[in-house]
């Protein structure tokens, strides 16, 4: 790999030590707690209707408490001794092969565990209010718990196979929750769509694991990374691109982005937890975790940055045109994750920035979604922003928390999003050369888009005049819903500063992912050209939104669109492309395969079956029941034995 300065040299990821404390050696509890909740609620049936949701809320909270203990345990160790291998279950070991379940607790995984359990707990609490009237409440909480457990498996796995198990688990939970209101055809279709598109990515990840197993002879993180220097370029490129394909599916990156907007059919807490804060960031986790593979395959790394940059811009454009508040937020999620993927593709210099942005994004985006849910709650489940307006007085808490999340995401100075987005921008420019210039500029364009579409959303929802439907009487949501929003808003304001000042997060995270801690210079961020540029485009984006959506009245129905807007409203024709390029040829292929299956494969299988049955009857005829025949058979056997002993091989 091309090295321009020592800062870009990857350090060896820290070697895992054995778990020796009660907290860490029982890290399986983190997964077991929510999993038990899902099992109790699903198997217990109606008997658990009354207390089930409360139990399901308490368990992720308990897991969060355990994760906090684990964090303190890790902090009590030396910076290089914070990768702890936790053997959970040894299934069997035969010869040189052993199979079992092992977890890896290190700064990277514990960061995710904390994010998942903390945001997860808040969203469970929020759901107590949001889903209080839903008849399927118990099932909903069971699936939520299942999701948390699967997501924790994904991030705590110490090998790609177990990671894949978690990967499929979150896919399943996501499918169940998007289609939670299965009586709505749109929800059922959206769930199916998400599942199918994710299959494509999953196959990529699966094939990548198979290649690792055959070409590198290992599937555990440490063994794979140890085998990377001796592996061929082709193998590494293939593994890198296939891992990226997996990441694209789960994280809704181009070209597998089309499912995320439809996934908003799920209940809003699901959108906040799964399709904003946690699951969709799994792709970023995968790329950072598999860092050594990508670092050894520069072409794959470049593709990662290109995919990230393209998705970031595309997501921003889509978000700018959607009138559905959740879909607009979904476009924003695509865009923000694209930014993280771009950072992760920069190599070790961008890892910390990517994960830091992922964590702060988890807070403010979850807060924004919960705010959107609160607004929908008040507007009789209406999602069209053109029927909102002037809600700031009716819903002061929602407005305040949503507003803080908004300021964080557009990168208002000193709020959480600013710190982490600034880190990504400086990392991108820091790469140097044309690559750095292009990527850095792309991030700034992405930031401009963010400022525009988020301002548009806030102006259309909370400002301007009332454009409400008949019979809608907005009111503030109950405290079980607003409390989590307040907590997330506090995180949106302060978390970035807490993590970045003194390079706390960078120093904590860097050893486990082989990155050198990257110092964040506050003064530099305000004085460097790109820092100023970022602030300028943010102001520009807000101003443009102000001109278009606040100074002029907003139409109650979407006006006739120009070319660009139509393009954006149609989600850049992603669905049409999928249909024309994949679905229709796929249907033809299915028909052809059906014929092949009927005529050729079935024929062969049936023929084989008949063949086996006939030879079975033939051979069975030797079983005459006469001892003399048996003795003769034995004599024949003696001849075979003599022959095989006599012949020299």
């Amino acid at each position: 790999m091309a090295v321009t300065s020592h800062a870009y040299l990857a350090a060896e990821p820290a070697v895992a030590t054995a778990a020796d404390s009660a907290v860490l050696s029982n890290a399986w509890l983190l997964i077991a707690l929510p999993l038990a909740g899902a099992a109790i609620l699903l198997l217990g049936g109606r008997r658990t209707d009354k207390w089930g949701p409360w139990l399901a809320t308490a368990l992720p909270v308990a897991a969060f408490a355990w994760a906090l203990l684990a964090l303190f345990d890790l902090l009590g160790r030396g910076a290089d001794a914070r990768s702890v291998a936790v053997p959970v279950y040894q299934w069997f070991a035969v010869g040189d092969f052993s199979a079992g379940v092992d977890l890896l607790v290190d700064p990277l995984s514990i960061s995710f565990v904390l994010l998942i359990t903390f945001v997860g707990s808040l969203i469970h609490i929020y759901s107590l209010g949001y889903m209080s009237e839903d008849p399927g409440k118990r099932r909903f909480f069971a699936y939520l718990n299942l999701f948390v457990a699967a997501m924790l498996v994904l991030v705590l796995a110490d090998n790609f196979v177990l990671l894949f198990l978690g990967w499929e688990g979150v896919g399943l939970a996501s499918y169940l929750l998007i289609g939670f209101w299965q009586y709505k055809p749109t929800a059922a279709t959206a769930a199916k769509k998400a599942f199918l598109i994710n299959r494509v990515g999953d196959i990529g990840l699966l094939v990548a694991i198979m290649i690792m197993f055959t070409a590198l002879g290992a599937v555990s993180f440490s063994d794979v990374f140890a085998a990377v220097p001796g592996a061929g370029d082709g193998v590494l490129l293939a593994v890198g691109l296939l891992l990226l394909l997996g990441a694209c599916g789960k994280s809704a990156q181009l070209p597998l982005q089309a499912w995320l907007l439809d996934a908003m059919e799920g209940p809003t807490p699901v959108s906040a937890l799964i399709h904003a804060a946690t699951m969709v960031t799994a792709g970023v986790y995968l790329i950072v975790r598999a860092g050594p593979v990508f670092e050894a395959a520069p072409v794959a790394q470049t593709v990662v940055t290109v995919v990230g940059a393209a998705t970031m811009i595309a997501g921003g454009i889509i978000a700018s045109a959607k009138d559905d508040i959740k879909k607009s937020l979904a476009g924003s999620t695509m865009s923000q994750i694209g930014m993280m993927v771009l950072a992760a593709g920069l190599g070790p210099v961008g890892y910390v920035a990517a994960i830091a942005h992922l964590v702060t994004h988890g807070f403010f985006k979850a807060g924004l979604f919960l705010g959107a849910g609160s607004v929908m709650h008040a507007m009789n489940d209406g999602v069209d922003m053109r029927r909102y307006g002037a809600l700031r007085k009716a819903m002061p808490v929602t407005f305040a928390t949503f507003g803080l999340g908004y300021l964080a995401i557009i990168g208002f100075p000193l709020l959480s999003g600013w710190w982490t987005k600034e880190s990504i921008i400086s990392a991108a420019f820091g790469v140097g050369g044309t690559r750095g210039l292009v990527l850095g500029t792309a991030v700034i364009v992405g930031a401009a888009l963010t400022a525009f579409y988020m301002s548009r959303m806030v102006f259309m929802t909370f400002f301007g005049e009332k454009r409400w439907e008949e019979g809608v009487h907005p009111h503030e949501s109950p405290v079980s819903m607003t409390a989590p929003m307040v907590v997330l808003a506090i995180g949106s304001v302060a978390l970035g500063a807490f993590m970045t000042l003194g390079d706390r997060f960078a120093n904590f995270l860097a050893p486990s992912i082989g990155a050198h801690p990257h110092h964040f210079d506050v003064a530099h961020a305000f004085t460097a050209p790109y820092g100023i540029a970022a602030l300028a485009v943010m102001a520009g984006g807000v101003a443009l939104a102000w001109v278009v959506y606040l100074r002029r009245p907003v139409a109650r129905t979407a006006p006739k669109a120009n070319l660009v807007t139509a393009f954006a409203r149609e989600e850049l024709y992603g669905n049409q492309i999928n249909e024309g390029l994949l679905m229709r040829p796929g249907q033809v292929l299915t028909k052809v395969l059906l014929v092949v299956e009927d005529k050729i494969i079935d024929g062969a299988v049936n023929g084989l079956g008949t063949g086996v049955r006939d030879s079975s009857r033939g051979l069975g005829r030797a079983q005459t029941g006469f001892a003399r025949t048996y003795a003769l058979t034995m004599l024949l056997g003696a001849v075979i034995v003599a022959a095989t002993l006599a012949v020299r091989f």
Binding site: Q90, W91, F92, A93, V94, G95, D96, F97, V612, R613, S615, S616, R617, L619, G620, A622, Q623, G625, A627, T629, Y630, A631, T633, M634, L636, G637, A638, I640, V641, A642, T644, L645, A646, V647, F649
Partner: protein, 550 residues
């Protein structure tokens, strides 16, 4: 090292005998003899309880003694030989013997199961089937309590078989094991003619195979000048006994014929194709508890002996017998799996299944390595528990009218709905037979195939995996019949499981799951491993040869 060919030394005193290491065998022998005396002197109505108690106590005592013996084996070497080198006591042997005693104890539960005063055995075997005399005995409630001493003697033979350290002892063990089994096979309470036919066939073919075995021993003696395993191994290494050295000519044909004939005797006992014909007929005809005993304990004993013979006396001439075992293993895995596809009777199906499993275990013998030995040991133990459970289920499914066991699988339709627990247990056993992960069968299969691949026998493993696929077909078909087909007119009745049979099924389920989910302790601590502990095969040889030399 060239073995001594001097005249036999006349010993001055009795040989030194380690009674402690012989204690498990002697316990069972004493129990058998005592059982015979009970038959003679204890009144008929009190015999049954006494015999069962004695047998159970003896097996339990033998097991405890075996466990205690492990501690007294010398550190750093696999084991020792006892009684002037005729028996070997090492960790491998103790594992086999321990497995056999546990499995025999569980089989005893099935044998002792007594429903309405009737067990699985004929009221009076000497009466003509269907005669007035027979009916009189049935009405009088006569019972053959001789079954228990016969079982004791059979188990004694099974314990000796894998422990034998010379061919003559092995032959005696073979006969001690087989003769009581021939008798027991003919004692079924129902379908007595069928049962007697099976017994006669088993006896005739068993005698036939014993002749091969004995002839093979003679030829090997001619080649090596000894029947002792250690001495034979040394002789094979040296190229034959002294008379074959120098100008004496080539003794190899003698050795090869000897190996072949001995192998036939052993392959008959494990039921490898084409020496398997007795298995379906005998398994079907014998009283099911005895079938269970044979399918589990006899198979373990026979494979224990086969492994010892091929690894110790013939261990240094592996190149000459490996092609032969390749051929037999392939034949066994393919032919038995194919024939099993069209079987309609559950006991015949399980018999063919046992033949296929023998083929899988043969791949571990071909591997000729410590891993292979360990794999075979695990496989045998796992299979023993599972097959006991399966046969226990078979004893419970009866016809509506006559109350005899219902073997016809087509009429098992709907069993899963009628008695879900029983059908579920059988389904688990069948999945274990098929080698589905998270059951003991998977680990066993993985262990033997892994060993075979490591030893370069990959084609054999490919055949094995394909054969597994075929076997999975008929195992799953039974599950489909039980759970997904509507019961037909005169479906089966399920006899309520007594404590004994229920216990056997429970133990079978527990062992199948435990060894499938958590095999670590057994794999790590009970089985030999090439990395830890002494080399099991090599040390057995050293011990054998030092004993004969010294």
């Amino acid at each position: 090292m060239i073995p001594h060919m001097d005249l036999p030394v006349v010993t001055e005193g009795p040989p030194e005998i380690n009674w402690w290491l012989l204690a498990p065998l002697l316990t069972l022998f004493a129990a058998g003899v005592l059982g015979v005396l009970f038959e003679a002197f204890v009144p008929a109505r009190r015999r049954r309880r006494l015999q069962i108690g004695l047998a159970a106590l003896a097996l339990l005592a033998a097991f405890v003694l075996l466990v205690l013996q492990i501690g007294t084996l010398p550190e750093g070497q696999a084991g020792v030989t006892v009684a002037a080198g005729v028996l070997a006591v090492d960790r491998t042997v103790i594992f086999f013997q321990g497995t056999i005693t546990v499995l025999a104890l569980i089989s005893l539960l099935l044998i002792a199961e007594n429903r309405d005063g009737r067990d699985a055995f004929a009221a009076q075997a000497a009466t003509v089937p269907g005669s007035e005399e027979e009916r009189a005995h049935i009405l009088a409630g006569s019972q053959h309590t001789e079954v228990y001493p016969l079982v004791m003697f059979a188990v004694l033979g099974m314990l000796m078989f894998p422990a034998s350290n010379d061919f003559l002892t092995m032959f005696i063990a073979l006969e001690v094991m087989s003769l009581p089994l021939y008798l027991l096979c003919g004692l079924a309470r129902r379908r007595r003619l069928f049962s007697q036919e099976a017994a006669v066939k088993y006896f005739l073919l068993g005698a036939f195979s014993s002749a091969f075995f004995l002839f093979g021993i003679a030829l090997v003696y001619g080649y090596a000048g000894s029947v002792n395993f250690g001495t034979i191994r040394a002789a094979v290494e040296a190229g034959g006994a002294e008379i074959f050295q120098g100008e004496g000519g080539d003794g190899e044909p003698l050795l090869l014929m000897g190996i072949g004939l001995v192998a036939i005797g052993l392959l008959f006992k494990v039921g490898a194709v084409p020496f398997h014909n007795w298995k379906p007929d005998v398994y079907q005809g014998a009283p099911t508890p005895i079938t269970a005993l044979m399918a589990s304990c006899t198979l373990v004993a026979a494979f224990g002996a086969l492994l010892r013979v091929f690894f110790v006396p013939f261990g240094t001439s592996a190149a000459s017998w490996e092609p032969m075992l390749w051929a037999v293993a392939v034949l066994t895995m393919v032919a038995a799996a194919v024939i099993a596809v069209t079987q309609r009777d559950i006991k015949r199906l399980l018999a063919y299944s046992s033949v296929v499993h023998a083929g899988f275990i043969l791949t571990a013998v071909v591997a000729n390595s410590t891993d292979g030995l360990a794999g075979a040991m695990f496989y045998l133990a796992a299979y023993g528990f599972t097959t006991l459970g399966a046969f226990a289920v078979v004893t419970l499914v009866r016809t509506k009218d006559g109350g005899q066991e219902l073997g016809d699988l087509e009429r098992w339709a709907g069993l899963g709905r009628r008695s879900p627990a029983l059908a579920g247990a059988l389904a688990l056993f069948l999945l274990a037979f098929a080698g589905i992960p998270l059951t003991s069968g998977f680990i066993g299969k993985f262990a033997v195939f892994e060993a075979a691949v490591a030893a370069g026998a990959t084609p054999l493993v490919v055949v094995g995996v394909l054969s597994s696929a075929v076997t999975a077909f008929f195992y799953v078909r039974i599950i489909v019949v039980m759970f997904f087909r509507d019961p037909e007119g005169d479906g089966p009745t399920v006899v309520r499981a007594g404590a004994a049979t229920g216990g056997v099924i429970t133990i079978g389920v527990a062992a199948t799951l435990l060894l499938g989910l958590y095999p670590g302790p057994v794999l790590d601590h009970l089985l030999p491993s090439s990395e830890t502990g002494p080399e099991p095969v090599a040390v057995m040889v050293d011990q054998a040869s030092t004993d004969t030399d010294g």
